[in-house]
Symmetry: none
Subunit: 222 residues, 2 copies
């Protein structure tokens, strides 16, 4: 209720499906205090039109022709650090979620979000919050969890083997590991063979991946 028009929340859309885009635009324009100032069907379009339109918030789809919405989000955030980006997508892959947040998204909603929740989320993100659909929040929180060592894994490694695995994970080559532990390279190699056996892997990189708790995620994105 200030004196200028700045109290309007200016929203931009990046969504390749024209029907969905039109539907969202109408939803936003019909809501009091909200205005849809920019509609884009591709990432390229967004990178040109959004800086000009200067919205407060962008609703960003992830599945776009050519570039993904994640890359688009990253470029927009780099160019316009004050811009808030809300992902609005069907993807609930942990991998996709993390990449989007890494790229600078401030929130992550699934497309089944109701119109009322969507408008609330837009307001919330401008208040400095981080609106997320509950599944997304759960995955995010779970990503922090410290993995308990399972019986078949690293718990079985001897003390020396664990030391060597630590150094492996820091990227040292066998010679450097030997120097640091004051043992010969051949000994390091022997320990490595035992580590591989116990972890059921066959290369140092695989061992490190397992050690750092990666391994099991099978996902991807365009």
């Amino acid at each position: 209720m200030e004196t200028t028009g700045m109290q309007w929340i200016k929203v931009a859309l990046v969504e390749d499906d024209a029907r969905v885009r039109g539907h969202l635009a109408k939803l936003i324009d019909d809501a009091p205090g909200y205005a849809c100032v920019c509609q884009c069907g591709t990432a390229e379009e967004a990178l040109v039109k959004i800086p000009a339109a200067a919205p407060d918030v962008v609703l960003m789809d992830i599945h776009l022709p050519n570039r993904s919405g994640i890359e688009c989000a990253f470029r927009l955030r780099t160019a316009l650090p004050a811009l808030r980006i809300l992902i609005l997508t069907v993807y609930q892959d942990a991998d996709v979620i993390f990449k989007a947040l890494q790229a600078g998204a401030s929130g992550y909603l699934l497309k089944r979000t109701s119109p009322a929740e969507l408008l609330q989320a837009i307001a919330e993100v401008l208040r400095g919050g981080a609106p997320m659909t509950s599944e997304v929040a759960r995955r995010v929180v779970e990503s922090f969890r410290v993995r308990a060592p399972q019986p078949g894994a690293a718990a079985e490694l001897s003390r020396r083997e664990q030391e060597i695995l630590e150094l492996l994970a820091r990227g040292y080559v066998n010679k450097e590991i030997g120097e640091r532990l004051s043992i010969g390279v051949e000994t390091v190699r022997t320990h490595l063979k035992h580590i591989y056996d116990k972890l059921h892997v066959s290369s140092r990189t695989e061992a490190v991946a397992k050690h750092l708790g990666i391994g099991l995620d099978r996902m991807r994105m365009g």
Copy 2:
């Protein structure tokens, strides 16, 4: 109430301030469908009484005499994996938040949360969600943010190079990477050389360590 009684949500409290504890207990018991089945003033008490009381959710304070609520949360989760733990505290430092989530907390609320929101959060966490106060959510989301390209350190990898680094981190050898991306092994090698140049490393394991390193700094606790 053998089989039908199970629809009650059983809540336990761990909170050293007796007044606050009593207040919370009353709030929960007064709410239809909720029952406070256990009240604890210390972590030690919680570790004994909570397994016996078998609640669905624990509301956990962080500031406790002797041990912290974070350690208590970790021990409870280890003993009772199905138990959901909701942190309810005044601390909103990023460090405390992350440690609590690492310890296995499923949600994190600040004490200024209203009674209605608190009851909602309890229900939400049992639906598999991860209720967080908006400031907490913001900090969590920001923790994912990738550092802006620094002058000298973070060289930017091309899209293909990032894909290859992803596969590296999963422990694939060059031939497998080539197959997965439908390119020749020589091309993979070329990309790897570029990655090493840009990251200032000289082996795949080092590259993976660097790539996963930022994640580690974020996740690792002292």
